[in-house]
Symmetry: C2
Amino acid sequence: MTELPQGATIGILGGGQLGRMLSVAASRLGYRCHIYEPGAAPAGDVAHRVTTAPYEDETALRGFAASVDVITYEFENVPTSALDLLESLRPIRPNRRALAVSQDRIAEKSFLNDLGLQTAPWAQVDCEADLRAAADRLGLPAILKTTRLGYDGKGQARLNAEADIPAAWAAMNGAASVLEGFVPFEREVSVIAARGMDGSVACYDPGENVHRDGILRTTTVPARLTPAQRADAVLIAARILNALDYVGVMGVELFVTPRGLLVNEIAPRVHNSGHWTQAGCTVDQFEQHIRAVAGLPLGDGNRYADVVMENLIGDDVLRLPELLKARDTAVHLYGKGTPRPGRKMGHVNRVIRG
Amino acid sequence: MTELPQGATIGILGGGQLGRMLSVAASRLGYRCHIYEPGAAPAGDVAHRVTTAPYEDETALRGFAASVDVITYEFENVPTSALDLLESLRPIRPNRRALAVSQDRIAEKSFLNDLGLQTAPWAQVDCEADLRAAADRLGLPAILKTTRLGYDGKGQARLNAEADIPAAWAAMNGAASVLEGFVPFEREVSVIAARGMDGSVACYDPGENVHRDGILRTTTVPARLTPAQRADAVLIAARILNALDYVGVMGVELFVTPRGLLVNEIAPRVHNSGHWTQAGCTVDQFEQHIRAVAGLPLGDGNRYADVVMENLIGDDVLRLPELLKARDTAVHLYGKGTPRPGRKMGHVNRVIRG
């Protein structure tokens, strides 16, 4: 295991709030960050350097790679061509396989099922006839999702009855899709798991997530889980990380159902449902990720407090004056300017003391 | 009270580790930072912008001021001419009076004594004859310090006997100096205190400091103080802040003696002995300072854990592999490159759980 030396530079693909918090964590460990981002980059406010260029700009990609020692990413939809070029120049952590699996819902579900892990029932859908057959087989309601480029509820259509089929298929714009059957679940939890270059795995305590309009609203730790469920959740995450020879932090979303834990999806990066670790752990998910990709030992991720993380979405940020005064409440803003509906503007971590 | 709007830029004079951690804290509150630093600027790794120019460069100072909404500082020895120019262009917080008092040991001690606060006995020394008279009056051992520009044990000479007088005075290079009599103290503690633009004051729990070779080595909270001493420490700090109409965080160093608390010195900025607040409080000293200078309400600075902060000085940083693996230990590195004797390379906060 080669440790990244003090003063080395970590390249981050993507300059949103995750990149911003990764860059801050890297600074605590004595590293610099160079952000690569085609659009606006709030991460640039706290990074050593920012490259603003599209992922198709080969010269910019080469310059970026030449200036960094290792490359990581804050979102998984980086175009393959960019990754091919970058990978020929510098190590990318987490590795390409993790990206390939998580960029494609069908690859992801196949990978998980092949590992012996449960998912919601699903069927590949490439045309309206496929969708009819799939709806027949899985039953309705169900949810149709494009296999690629979906996040925060985008690229999704819910089917409540057979009559919804044409509109749902039309909403996919002809993109390869997957129909997911509904599973009656009691709650959604997620495990933020980390794996180091030495193969060691550390999982944070599972958090319980509440979504609205397809966007995460709150994560609460501890999640309401039985001891057996808690152990299962961690074992599932560890199995996924080991199978991918993963290096870094991953978010693993799980449905708690009467027939056990189902994997909803995996995200090969730091995850919104892991923001609570900033308030409840000595080493948060951002530092844990940087430690992993830098080849350092994983840190102490034990939870020492109960925490409720709440996202500030759109106008939620107007509650700021009150939140800044609240006890046991840590405010994290992303420097994104004007609030827009559905836009993640920040989050707060409220610590519940016993 | 005018709040700095989201996305505003805070100018920081000085680009060392304090500026670095201030910039990170500012990002959490949605602000950007612009660092002004004549030399190497580790703060620049996590700042929106850095100006590298001497404090005598009027054009650079004007450009800096034009790009920021408010100016603060991470060290108190900024030349007066630079401050005069900057103050004509943008608000400086904490204010000039706090700087003037803390830049000059005689002004500081006079200010404190005028407030009715105790200091070690002292005498102004402008020539060797002054020093002889002062040594006679205060007794030896005593310590001779230049009135300006001293920090971390620099610009100081200890006098154990009369024979040391010529060498001690020679070491001051003719600079205006002050002789401080020794006071038998049980321990040194410091209070990190904050005052907002609305005049509200919040003090962190006092920490107990251990120095070696004139440099802070550890701060431990809670400090060993009686309830009365604890109350006194906080009242002293509040009295100083109010008297200066102060806005921001200040470090107040106190000697615990049989005849009460003596003020050793004040620092009109975030303070090394307040680094423990990163591990033991919801809102740390860096965010508290940014909140104050930005006109936001002060945050929750209540201590929820026992903490030992240890500075990593020079080769201490070679213990890094072990520290990165230690439980309940948060590592903070400053990105300063090669260790040098006496150079602050980072610090660790070790949380003691009951």
